[in-house]
Amino acid sequence: MSESKKKKEIVFVNGGRTPFLRAQTDFKKFSAYDLGRLAIAGLIKKTKLDGSHIDHVYYGNVIQDINTSNVARESSMAAGLPDSIPATTLSMACISSNIALTTATDAINHGQINAAIVGGVEIMSDIPIRFRKIFRQKLLQTQKYKSPTDWLKFFKGLSPSDLLPEIPSISEFSTGETMGESCDKMAAKYGVKREEQDAYALRSHQLAFKATEEGFLENEIFPVSVNNGNSIVEKDNGVRPDTDMDKLAKLSPAFIKPHGTVTAGNSSFLTDGASAGLVMDKGFALNNGYKPKALIRSYTYVAQRPGDELLIGPAFAVPKVLDDMKLTLDDIDVFEFHEAFAGQMLTVLKALDSNEFAKDRLKRKKKVGKVPWDKLNHWGGSLSLGHPFAATGIRLVTTAANRLIKQDGRYALIAACAAGGQGHAMILERFNE
């Protein structure tokens, strides 16, 4: 969408999230529906939202629970929103809540709706483990069985190993490669060293720890009570302030052995969490007494063929939104990039700062430029805070909006890569009226 075509101004009022927790910790008993409704209820409380102002809920989710396949709808109703609000679950891998946000933005722009709740949820503690196909088919056939003797057919051609369930791996369907493998290859291709990756991961943990300690994140986290109210979770639990280069260096490669550079220490981890944000037509928000934090400006989605460059999407998306707004990296005060892997982040940063990449791949005369370290992911990133796939997008947007206010900036640039070779970038402008 080009800036000139915009009819309306759309605001991001506020957002927040549940704490992000490592899978199999305090949220392990929750389903996606539970965290989703808690995030939406938290948002309602935080923004003092009048549910009747909402026209639609767009909510992201990647690993779907078959019981709540439209988790947006179930979460929305259980969070106490009026039954009359339609809800859509969107799926676009790690940028699912970004597409939720921009779908809402588009609908507001077209005058379809005035306001929407957006966000996403992921529960990696409870992924659907399935029986093997042959056994699934056998089970479904039994529904047609009429007499007990039909059950004899059931065991025909079934071997004991067919009874073992299969745990889905997070691998690319088209290539069969796990994301870590792809990233490791990409890092090697762009010459990103192991030490650089470890240093980047360390930086992420240290910044996240600092932001947590200084209370910057508190503002965007909705506390959740667990264990029948006996404890409250108010903080993310993946941040490791105690790690250092030596410890990181000791870890062996997780995906490509023995020469790979991607380790458990410089990758994002499996995370449970949910996010939610409130997006509105500017006039509608102001007329109803909401206090927006940012204006949603340009955004784009890009895609390449998955393979060597599975996670390089931001390098393609960033120049598009900058050009659209006629801005350069110098104009950006806040960068919030999704950190899937340290190797992936560094590859993207290198690509953006490479004349060769600009010429060959972006068909531009000059490189996009260098992302200044002091403006990038200053309150931590996915490597340290965690990455519940579909929740991350609204975390980036919320943090970007809050950082703009805290750091008194004007523009924020958000970027994220996603499975399938896809990518996204968005520019926010601080709301100052």
């Binding site: 259980a78 106490g80 409250i232």
Partner: protein, 710 residues
Amino acid sequence: MNKKKKILQTETVENVAIITLDTPGEKVNKLNEQLIDEFSDLLDKLGSDDTLEGALLISGKENNFIAGADIEMFKTRETAEELSELSWTGHEILLRVENFDKPIVVGIHGSCMGGGTELALASHYRIVSDHKSTKIGLPEVKLGLLPGMGGTQRLPRLIGIQKALPYLLTGKNMYSYQAGKTGFADEVVHQYAVKEAGIKAVKKLKNEKVSHPDKRSALEKVSESNALGRNIIFSQARKRTQSETKGNYPAPPKIIDSVEYGYKHGFEKGLENESRLFGELAVTPESRALVQLFFAMNASKKNPLEKKREIKKIGVLGAGLMGSGITEVSIEDEFHVWLKDQKLENAMKGESSIRENLDKKVGKHIISEFERDETMSSVHPTETYDGFEDIDLVIEAVFEDLDLKRNIVKEIEDVCPDNTIFASNTSSLPISDIAKNAKRPENIVGMHYFSPVQKMPLLEIVKTDQTADWVVATAFDVGLRQGKNVIVVNDGPGFYTTRILAPYINEALLLLEEGAKIEDLDSAMKQFGFPVGPVALLDEVGIDVGAHVADTLSDKFEARGAKTSKKSKELMDEDYLGRKNKRGFYKYEKGSKKKKEVNEKIYKYFGGTDRLSFDQREIQYRLSTMMINEAVLCLQEEILKNPTDGDLGAILGLGFPPFLGGPFRYIDRIGLESFLESMNTLHSSNGDRFKPADLLLEMKSSQSLFHPKE
């Protein structure tokens, strides 16, 4: 028939007469004489019309099948014989239904109570909707009656004696899930399938014999199949009933008698006997009192006040037992509640305790897990006033400390809008004291709930001279939406309920000082009809709370020469707080769960462990008289508007024996003369606290009653 609109509408579908019960101008159907007449005519028609294969009986009301017999019918009948006859009229029509040669099927959706359930039992087939509004019950016992239209005969025969007795003896509801599980329902279907299922059932019954599901366990079947087994069942039921009712309620033992008689002498004789017992019970003072209570309770479910305003958001301050209880009853009627405590952890503990209570309902299939989550989303635990900018009503349930409460009034006046109501759930502090320095005293009212809030049906609203009418009307409305029976009283120390409880507890403490045994006091008052004895109650509410109440009220009592015990203060200072810190009149160590053991150590403060035996009657007289006379004083001082509120408040808030009808009905019942006589005796032996209220003497001279006969 006269010109009255008919209750029963009939249409014929596929040769099945579909009879719709729809009492004109009423929200619910009630069994009355007109209905019985119309139904009898219809049976004639059904019998003579050869084209009709059978009948299906359904209701035209939303979420109601039959609410029960119209209790107004009892009012016109005085004697046991007349009331027996009324019951027999019911038997005749239901016997006709039962023996009818064409199938008669009922389709129950919504509440089905008393006579409605008995009609269903006499029918040939019962279809029950799975809707949550569908509940089946025989609540006659709550009115001191027994189900007099065959309930004591047909229910045990249908679902088994052991499954039936709890429903007959407690009047509890059977929801559709249990209707299926017990075998009461032949079929459980969704509400829109009731009609179709009913037509099919008529056709099926026409062609074949259909047996009802027997859902009894093997053990139940064996023990109910022979006289010896049944003897054991009945004798155990009698024992339990005796221990629970202390013999104060005549209905439960008669219900057991009625069931047993039917098994010994057969169904027909059982019905005759049931009618006889029904008549006997209906004229007992206990039943009369309970029926009056029923009418008073219904009346207190309607808001007579005008100018109420709409409330959407409630702020509850303090997430303890009271605060979370108030929150729980509020969210069930779609209020949003900001539950604030000093620490978020405490607020969230309160939230979790509500969730646990809802989980119990999920366990009983009353609500689904989803509905639980949805309801829970209306609770917003917090530790700040963030969100209070548009709160309509604040209910404080913090510690009983006047300065603290006044500070909170100030805080609320600062953060909340000008029209926010401030309600205090104090149990004794005068509301006008709390409102003293308030900027907007007209917004301040007392909303006194009772613990546990989820179970105790009373809300006592306390208004001061300054409280605005709209504030009282709005608080009343909130109380009704929280499912409470509401009384409105005027402000004063302890208002009404705490005011009459204080001298009652005081008397118990004085008796202890005189050497009485703790267990004697409690058992005497339980025998009198209170659910909990006074000493155990003091342990439950907290000795510190008792001390606080005594402190608030002692000036008032002493001014009229009443002796007050200072023991609760003394005990509090010695860190005896009751159950909450496991230091009280009883022992609360683990292991001594089953039967409460008296904490002998506490006698140190009451003259040592050598105790005296007091006559049970003396204990009962002294304690009950203190409470009852204080109630009369409240009426005299216009704390109470009328005796009905006083009766309701004492029964629903303090557990005053319902079968006695409340303090005022009790005086009417035993007679003013005799009440004054026993008071005078106590006055001369125990001092001025037994001085009768002036109002009693005035009434004696004018020969009037608190509740003049209608």
